[in-house]
């Protein structure tokens, strides 16, 4: 690989982002583990877990940006892939509890003992091995996305219709996971985790390790996304976004392109969910709620659709605002802020933070370029 493809892969913004992410991944654990608690620079374990959560959300936002920003597929059900990855990880963590559960059953998780399940259901087999669970984390969301996308894209369900049926998909999954007889803990979901790979999930060291792992996963996903969008494949995706029918007439198999990128995006969302679960300590069916998926879309919109770095930034900004508003006396106003954000961003800032910023820079450099935002064809 020569110098040119590398600079194409990593433009200035991407390089800055990766450097910042690396600093973040090194600084936070250092400040948490090595700086004494008495010091003003100390970062509490609570914050470490919180940042870890943000990183996972950023990864989810990235996966949405890849399909929405570049291929024009607005999925309102991406939270489902996130949650499925989370459940796969949760099942591994449940099996790791072993006989330390309340009912001390070495095989069955507590909720199954409580519901009088005679034995472990077949689909829980194998989750005591991390490798198998890791495979499922990628495979299950990927497979669902593949099947769903196979049907949807082949019959040319696009635009709003696709958004609505993705929403129906996550809604149906939510209803299903709420049921006790589905074998995923029903209402309460999976929780009370003890170990991951032999380390206690509560320990400071594990939490920092999870944060660093999440940062690495985010960086890798970012590089994969950059690799896709800067390649010829990415150019075709943008063409599909802007004029699907025309791209098809030029001889490209539109549905194959869409299916690939949709499945990849679902796998990324699954990994994000899997990293999220041990850091928050619980996974339950409310993660499937359609509202969650729509909220994730607004992170991308705030940061800037079709910029990748914007998705990450948006996830951080909106979630920081959420943490800020939902803790303390401001909490009744959070929905006003979130709702206002949806409206303000779509009306006033259609390109998001990064997009608007980039637009200004290009304007300065090249005044002849039209300032009109490119519109996605319906």
């Amino acid at each position: 690989m020569g110098a040119f493809p590398l600079t194409r892969l990593l433009d200035k913004a991407s390089a800055i982002f990766l450097v910042l992410l690396a600093i973040f991944a090194i600084a936070i654990p250092t400040l948490n583990l090595l700086v004494p608690v008495s010091s003003g620079l100390h970062v509490s374990t609570y914050l470490v877990a919180l940042f870890g959560k943000y990183i996972c959300f950023a990864m989810l936002a990235l996966s949405i940006d890849l399909i929405w920003g570049y291929a024009g597929i607005l999925s309102l059900g991406h939270g489902a892939f996130f949650a499925l990855g989370g459940y796969a990880m949760g099942m591994y963590l449940m099996r790791q509890i072993g006989s330390r559960g309340v009912y001390a059953n070495p095989i069955l998780p507590d909720f199954m003992v409580f519901l009088n399940w005679p034995e472990l259901p077949l689909y829980w087999y194998g989750f005591n091995h991390f490798a198998y669970a890791a495979l499922m984390i990628v495979l299950v969301p990927g497979l669902l996305a593949f099947v769903f996308g196979w049907f949807a894209f082949r019959s040319r369900v696009t635009g709003v219709y696709l958004s609505i049926i993705t929403q129906a998909m996550t809604y149906a999954l939510m209803l299903g996971f709420f049921r006790n007889n589905f074998g995923f803990g029903g209402n309460n979901g999976l929780t009370d985790f003890k170990d991951i790979l032999g380390f206690s999930v509560q320990a400071d060291g594990t939490r920092n390790a999870l944060l660093v792992t999440s940062c690495i996963a985010l960086a890798l996903s970012f590089l994969i996304c950059r690799g896709i969008v800067t390649s010829k494949f990415g150019k075709v995706l943008v063409a599909i976004r802007d004029a699907e029918a025309r791209t098809r007439f030029l001889g490209y198999r539109v549905e194959a392109y869409k299916l690939f990128v949709f499945t990849l995006s679902a796998c990324m969302a699954g990994v994000a969910g899997a990293l999220y679960v041990p850091q928050v300590g619980i996974i339950n069916p409310s993660e499937f709620a359609p509202g969650n998926s729509i909220e994730a879309v607004i992170w991308v919109a705030v940061g800037g659709r079709g910029t990748l770095t914007g998705a990450v930034l948006g996830a951080f900004v909106v979630n920081y605002a959420k943490t800020f508003f939902t803790t303390g006396w401001l909490s009744p106003y959070w929905l006003f802020v979130l709702g206002g954000l949806f409206i303000a961003v779509t009306l006033l800032l259609p390109r998001g933070i990064i997009g608007t910023f980039e637009l200004r820079r290009t304007d300065k450099r090249n005044l002849s370029l039209s300032a009109e935002a490119p519109r996605a064809a319906e």
Binding site: R156, S163, A168, P332, Y333, L335, G339, I343, T346
Partner: protein, 536 residues
């Protein structure tokens, strides 16, 4: 003179004889039976109760009621029975006249469990002869349930006199139930009884026939098995009718929620995620109207919904127009952005309502004409569901007429079909956009009035309907009101027919999966628009 005296004597004797015979006639079976109550023996009391019931005398009812309430007194000396009425007055049971001075040895007529059981049965058979047909019906149905063999003679007696067909039927069925379970009846009677029960054809009848003891003659058993099969198939039909009714009811709710969306999404192409919140606003308008009426003029409560409907239309419609002018008009041609902005709007509207009215459910009452139910064949129909179906269809027809027959409807269709041409013809398209959106929102508000009658009125009311409404519109075919109608009722009925097999949640999941697959097959819904409109 003597002859005169003799005549006088003869007259006096004749009159005296007449009087005696009259008193003798007066001392009929009722009076005879009464004497049995004055001996203070349980077995005499029991015999007296049976004798009294057999007389069919109208005085028996109040007498036995008094006995049951321990308000019956007797005197062995005077051989008389007295009733203490609720005011404390004591009357003679035989002639109903107030008694001033009571005999010295007065005592309560006592009861034991055996007598009490007899008494209840006697009262039951008495009400078989009651004046009111409804009382007789209740009594006959009670006998059907208890299958008390002792009631058989009374039933036969009642059947002779009964003229009301419904009571007659109930009596016949009660008789059949007794005959069926009585060990003393022959096989022929039993088979006849089975056919009576079979014609009744409900769950009770099935229980009665399936509960028969196994040691019956083979031809009775055969008849019972055949009747059981017949009843089961009758029940299956009624069950299907019941499901269809529930489905219609659910479908009308879906239609009501989706019909406004069919305008904003179907006609205008605007994805209004805040549609559910317009429904919620309508429901809260109903709440406010009812609170106002309760505080100022409770007599108007039955009319509260008539007042709420136009108000809800106005409130939701005005909010809709404001939303269109303030947000949506900047986003035409960008459906995905519209979706996000209106989602944000829905969050804000929910929070506004939560801030004003609090997060808990609000109590919205049913007017008297909407509460209650009636039976139709084998199913029960509640008035509120029935009215909601009627109301939904009325709204649908009114909307259809409005779009077809009025000037505004014409202009709306013109703008939808070809905006540029409509503008060139002098239609103010921006104004029509705002009015169309207002109309769709206003109808959602009206839906809220109806839904407030059957659902919890809380800030989350709208969220429960938004996904279902979109499913209905997409399934029925965008831009087609008839498609929405068919879509809503199809989904409603399919849902209710799936529920008994799959359970409520799995049924719903099955429907969602079905729609997801259906959209793959027909991406534009059941009744897709054809021609140029498809490309728009």
């Amino acid at each position: 003179m003597l002859s005169f005296n003799g005549r006088m004597v003869a007259l006096v004797v004749a009159i005296a004889l007449l009087l005696i015979s009259k008193t003798l006639a007066n001392a009929g079976p009722f009076e005879d039976a009464l004497v049995g109550l004055t001996t203070d023996s349980f077995s005499d009391t029991a015999d007296a109760i049976e004798a009294l019931t057999a007389t069919g005398d109208p005085r028996t009812g109040p007498l036995l009621e008094a006995l049951k309430d321990q308000q019956l007194l007797f005197s062995t000396e005077a051989k008389k029975v007295f009733i203490k009425d609720p005011t404390g007055r004591i009357v003679d049971a035989a002639n109903g006249q107030a008694v001033a001075t009571l005999p010295a040895d007065i005592e309560n007529v006592r009861l034991n469990n055996r007598v009490r059981g007899l008494l209840d049965a006697a009262l039951g058979s008495l009400s078989l002869m009651a004046k009111e047909a409804s009382q007789r019906l209740d009594a006959a149905q009670a006998v059907f349930k208890s299958r008390d063999a002792a009631a058989l003679p009374n039933i036969d007696k009642a059947l002779e006199k009964e003229t009301d067909t419904r009571v007659r039927k109930a009596l016949t069925e009660a008789r059949a139930a007794i005959v069926l379970y009585s060990p003393d009846t022959n096989a022929g009677d039993k088979i006849a009884a089975i056919s009576v029960i079979r014609d009744r054809g409900d769950q009770d009848a099935l229980g009665l026939i399936d509960g028969l003891p196994p040691d019956l003659p083979p031809d009775v058993r055969k008849a019972a098995a055949a009747a059981s099969g017949k009843i089961q198939s009758t029940l299956a039909i009624w069950n299907a009718v019941q499901n269809a009714w529930y489905g219609l009811s659910l479908g009308s709710v879906l239609l009501l929620a989706a019909i406004g969306l069919a305008i904003t999404f179907g006609v205008m192409g605007v994805i209004n995620m805040a549609h559910g919140e317009m429904v919620m606003l309508g429901a809260y308008t109903t709440f406010v109207v009812q609170e106002y009426i309760r505080a100022h003029n409770p007599a108007l409560f039955d009319y509260s919904l008539f007042i709420a409907v136009p108000l809800a239309f106005a409130v939701a419609g005005l909010v809709g127009i404001a939303v269109e002018r303030g947000i949506i008009r900047f986003l035409y041609g960008r459906p995905l952005e519209t979706l996000l902005a209106t989602w944000g709007l829905s969050l804000i509207l929910q929070q506004v309502v939560r801030t004003i009215f609090g997060p808990t459910n609000k109590e919205v009452g049913n007017p008297s004409w909407m509460s209650g139910a009636f039976d139709l064949g084998g199913i029960t129909i509640t008035y509120n569901r029935l009215w909601i179906i009627c109301f939904t269809l009325a709204v649908f027809v009114a909307l259809l007429a409005m779009l077809r027959l009025t000037r505004l409807g014409l202009e709306m269709r013109a703008v939808t079909q070809n905006r540029a041409m409509a503008a060139a013809m002098g239609i103010r398209t921006a104004r029509i956009d705002a009015l169309t959106f207002g109309l769709g929102s206003g109808i959602a508000g009206i839906a809220g009035v109806a839904l407030s009658q059957i659902d919890n009125v809380s800030p989350n009311l709208g969220q429960g309907y938004i996904i279902d409404s979109f499913m209905v519109v997409v399934f029925g075919g965008v831009g087609n009101l008839w498609g929405t109608l068919v879509g809503a009722f199809t989904l409603g009925i399919a849902n209710k027919f799936l529920e008994p097999y799959a359970g409520a949640v799995l049924g719903k999941i099955a429907i969602l999966v079905f729609i997801i697959l259906f959209i793959q097959k027909r991406p534009r819904g059941m009744f897709a628009l054809k021609g140029r409109a498809v490309e728009a």
